[in-house]
């Protein structure tokens, strides 16, 4: 069945893309290159959302994570002084590396096993939800959370600016 094997090829292509990006993020000596690997991973995850026929979530993944969060991380990198000859450049000890990878693997393992063995019977073929249906949900039954999102973001922005912005000299 050529279309099914094609689907497998596309899926595992995305998975390979994500894994390569993640390895680049973890193993790179240069923080900026690690960020490029992270962006690659985020693009791959967006592709997976497209595969699950959730194009809106995929586009928002690109808009928010690739477009804004990675810029935020880049600004955070510029605040650090960890260039490749800095203090943090020599790798961690073997024991710490093993423990860290076990810690990273544990949630993936638990979540994966749960999904494989305890997954609810769901549709094998993903169904696309219309974006306007999401919008109708936000406008009709979930109108209060929708307005509170705006308020929450305003408070978060104001708090961040008041706490962290450089102040004028006070006399």
């Amino acid at each position: 069945m050529p279309s099914q094997s094609l689907a497998y090829a596309v899926l595992f292509g995305h998975v390979a893309f994500i894994v390569v990006g993640a390895l680049m993020t973890v193993l790179s000596q240069n923080l900026v290159r690690a960020l490029v690997g992270l962006i690659m991973t985020l693009f791959g995850v967006a592709g997976l959302f497209f595969l699950m026929s959730a194009p809106f979530i995929g586009l928002m993944q690109i808009l928010i994570y690739v477009g804004a969060v990675s810029i935020l991380i880049f600004f955070a990198i510029m605040l650090t002084q960890s260039w490749s000859s800095g203090d943090e450049a020599q790798g961690p000890s073997r024991k710490r590396a093993v423990l860290a990878s076990l810690t990273a693997l544990a949630p993936a393992l638990f979540l994966g096993l749960t999904i494989i063995f305890k997954s609810p019977p769901s549709l094998l073929v993903a169904e696309e939800t219309e974006v306007s249906a999401l919008g109708r949900f936000l406008l009709e039954p979930y109108i209060l959370p929708f307005e509170l999102i705006s308020l929450l973001l305003t408070v978060a922005m104001a708090g961040a600016v008041i706490l962290g912005f450089e102040r004028r000299k006070q006399r």
Binding site: P2, S3, F56, M60, L63, I64, G67, A68, V69, I71, L72, F74, F75, A76, M78, L79, T80, Q81, W83, V131, S132, A133, L134, G135, R136, L138, L139, I143, F146, E147, I149, S150, L151, L153, T154, A156, M157, A158, A160, V161, I162, G164, F165, E166, R167, R168, Q170
Partner: protein
Amino acid sequence: MSLSWLHMSIIIFFISGALFAAAPFIASMLLATRAKSPALYSPYECGMDPYGSAWTKFGINYYFYALLFLAFDVDVLFLFPVATAYADGAGLVPFVKLFIFIVILLASVIFFWKKGVFTWPKRIRF
């Protein structure tokens, strides 16, 4: 499943896109002159020699501009589906609902403006 004209056109566009990306590299490999000098690897080939690392520490204020951008980006995430559903809504009620959302955001913009976030030198007033 036989190859139709649609498949052929997709494949042709794919190949021509790859060629379009590869052509400048191939052309520069064939046509460009070879030159090697340590000066070619400096950020500015002519002019002053740069000193120090390019990785200077920037002011933390720039981080907050990225943070504000992120917050408004998340707003767009919620405004986008609402905007698609807005066309189907009848009467003034959806307009008022959306108006409240946008007015709260506008209030934050006015707040930052009054605080002096958008003016130089970038320090806020209290």
